[in-house]
Amino acid sequence: MIKSRFRNFSIGSTMLWIIVFVVVPYVFVMLFSFLERDPVSAVAWKFTLDGYRELLSPVFLKVCWYSLLLALGTTAISLLAAYPFAFILVRLPDALRRMLLLLMIIPFWTSSLIRTYALVILFKANGIINTFLLWTGIIHEPLSMLYTQTAVFVGLVYTLLPFMVLPIYTSIQKLDWRLIDAARDLGATSRHIFFRIILPLTMPGIVAGSTMVFLPALGLFYIPDFLGGARSMLIGNYIKNQFLTTGNWPVGSAASVILTLIMCLFLYVYFLSSRKAHTGGMGDMA
C-alpha cells in the first residue's frame, strides 16, 4: 500500500470535513435532546427526558399526525403519477426521451422556493385559475384556494414530484426486458409479470423516490408558510419554531432525532429492497 502525503491529504480532507461539519453537529443534536432547557445559555448540562416528553404533548402529536398524513399522501400521489410516467418515458425514441428527461431534471434542481412561489401567484384569489373559472361560468364567486390545507398538499406534490420520477426512471431503465420476454414465453400472465418481476426489480427506485419525497415533505417549512393557513404546520415548521420563536433547543433537537429515525427506517427498507433486486436507484441524479 502506497502511503504518500497526497494519499493522506485526499482521504483526510473530505473525511475531516464530513466529521467536523456533519458528524459532530449531529452528535450535538442527540446530546442536546437529552439536556435541560436554560433561559440564559439555551441548554443546561443536566440530563433529562423533558425534550422527548414534550413531544408527547397534544400540540406536537397533532402537528406530527397532520404532517405524516400529508407526507404519506404526497408520497402516494407522486408514486401513482410517477410510475406510469417513467414507464412511458423509458420506451420513447431516444432523442425525444432525452429532451423530456432534461425537462424533468430541470425542476429537480431549480429552487423549490421559487416553484412554490409560482403556485402562490397561480392560487391567488384574483389569480389565473379563478379568472379562468369565472370566465367559463363554472363558478360565480372566486374560490379561495390560497391558505388552505389543499394548497399545501398541492404545493408538496408540485415541489416533490420530480424527486419521485428520477429514481424510478433510473431503476426502470436498468430493467432487463429479456426477463419479461422469458416470463411471457413461459406463460406468465401480465399481472404475474408485473407483480413478480417488474415490481420487485424496480423496488429500489420506488423506495429511493419515496424517501426523497417523504422526508422533505415533513421538513419543507416554507410551503405551509407560503400556501397554508395559520393552522397548517409541518414537523419542519414545529422544529423551526422551537429554535427561532420559543428558543427551546432540547425539544427541537428531540424532534430532529425523531425525523432522523424516520430516515433510518427508510434507508433500511432501501437497503433490503436493493439487496433483493441487485440494482441501484439512488445514483445518476445529475
Binding site: 500500500m1 504518500s4 497526497f6 494519499r7 491529504f9 485526499s10 480532507s13 473530505t14 473525511m15 470535513w17 464530513i18 461539519f21 456533519v22 453537529p25 449531529y26 450535538f28 442536546f32 410516467f85 412511458i88 418515458l89 432525452r98 423530456l100 432534461l102 424533468m104 431534471i105 430541470i106 434542481w109 431549480t110 429552487s111 423549490s112 422556493l113 421559487i114 412561489y117 409560482a118 403556485l119 401567484i121 397561480l122 384574483n126 389565473i128 379568472t131 408540485y158 414530484l161 420530480p162 424517501t211 422526508l215 415533513l218 421538513g219 417549512f221 416554507y222 408558510d225 407560503f226 422544529i239 423551526k240 429554535f243 433537537s253 430532529s256 432522523t260 430516515m263 439512488m282 445529475a286
Partner: protein, 255 residues
C-alpha cells in the same frame, strides 16, 4: 388510441410542472402592481430589481457564497472521490455510505445541527458560517458525481502511470483530472445551483446582517406579493435552467 392516451398523460405531467413557472415568468412582464389582469408588457420590474439596493445586495451576496462554496466543495469532493477510488483505508465503505445518507437527510436537521454547533463553539452566524454550511451540503453531490465517472475507469491506467514513475500527485494532476473534467464541471455547476437555491440550511446558518436571495424572497413573500419578486424569480429560474442544462450536456456528451 393507446398512443394518444400516453401522449395526454405525459402532457398533463409536464403542464402541471411548467404552467405555474411560465405564468410566473409572464407576470414578471406585466405592467401592473396589484391586479393579475394583463396590463401590457414592461421591463420595469427587471429595471427596479437591478437598481433596488437591498435586492441587488442580496443577489451579490448569494452569488459570492455560491461561487466560493461550489469551488471549495468541488476541490474537496474531487479529491475525496479520487481517494475513494484509489485507496483502501479504514472506514472507506462506512464513509461512502455516510455520504449518501448526508445527501438524503432532511435539510432542516442539517440546518439546526450546524446552528447549534456554531453557537456552541462560539462562532457568530454570518457569511463565514453560511459558507461552511453550503460547502457541507454541496460536498456529497460532488463526491457522488465524480465517483460515478471515475469508477468506470480502467485501473490499468494507474499502473501504467506508476510504472512510468509518476507520483500519486502527478498521476492525479495529469491523468485523472483531465479525464474527470466533465464530471468535475458538472459537480461544480450542480453545487453552484444548490447553493444559490438553498433556503432551509441557510435559514439557520446565516446571521441577520448577511442576507441572501432565497431568504430575502422568503421574507418578502410572507409580507405580500411584489412584482419585483416575479422578476427576481424568473431570473433565478433562468439561471438554474442554464447551469443544469450545461451540467447535463457535459456529462451525457462524453459518456
Amino acid at each position: 388510441m393507446k398512443r394518444a392516451a400516453r401522449f395526454v398523460y405525459l402532457a398533463c405531467i409536464y403542464l402541471f410542472l411548467y404552467v405555474p413557472i411560465l405564468i410566473l415568468i409572464a407576470y414578471s412582464f406585466n405592467d401592473t402592481k396589484y391586479s393579475t389582469n394583463w396590463q401590457g408588457f414592461t421591463w420595469k420590474w427587471y429595471y427596479q430589481l437591478f437598481t433596488d439596493s437591498p435586492l441587488k445586495e442580496a443577489l451579490v451576496n448569494s452569488l459570492i457564497i455560491a461561487m466560493a462554496s461550489s469551488v471549495i466543495a468541488t476541490v474537496l469532493g474531487t479529491l475525496g472521490a479520487f481517494a475513494f477510488y484509489r485507496y483502501r483505508f479504514v472506514g472507506r465503505k462506512v464513509m461512502y455510505t455516510f455520504i449518501y445518507i448526508v445527501m438524503m437527510s432532511p435539510d432542516i436537521v442539517m440546518g439546526i445541527s450546524l446552528l447549534m454547533f456554531f453557537i456552541t463553539i462560539g462562532l457568530a452566524t454570518g457569511p463565514f458560517t453560511l459558507l461552511l454550511a453550503h460547502v457541507t451540503f454541496c460536498l456529497p453531490f460532488v463526491v457522488v458525481t465524480v465517483y460515478s465517472r471515475i469508477s468506470g475507469f480502467d485501473r490499468n491506467i494507474i499502473d501504467v502511470a506508476k510504472d512510468l514513475g509518476a507520483s500519486e500527485m502527478q498521476m492525479f494532476r495529469h491523468i485523472m483530472m483531465p479525464m474527470l473534467m466533465p464530471a468535475i464541471i458538472a459537480g461544480w455547476l450542480l453545487s453552484f445551483t444548490l447553493s444559490l437555491d438553498d433556503v432551509v440550511v441557510s435559514f439557520f446558518t446565516t446571521g441577520p446582517s448577511f442576507e441572501i436571495l432565497p431568504l430575502k424572497i422568503y421574507s418578502m413573500v410572507r409580507l405580500g406579493i411584489k412584482p419585483e419578486i416575479n422578476a427576481l424569480s424568473a431570473v433565478m429560474f433562468l439561471l438554474s435552467l442554464i447551469t443544469v442544462s450545461v451540467a447535463h450536456l457535459v456529462t451525457k456528451e462524453t459518456r
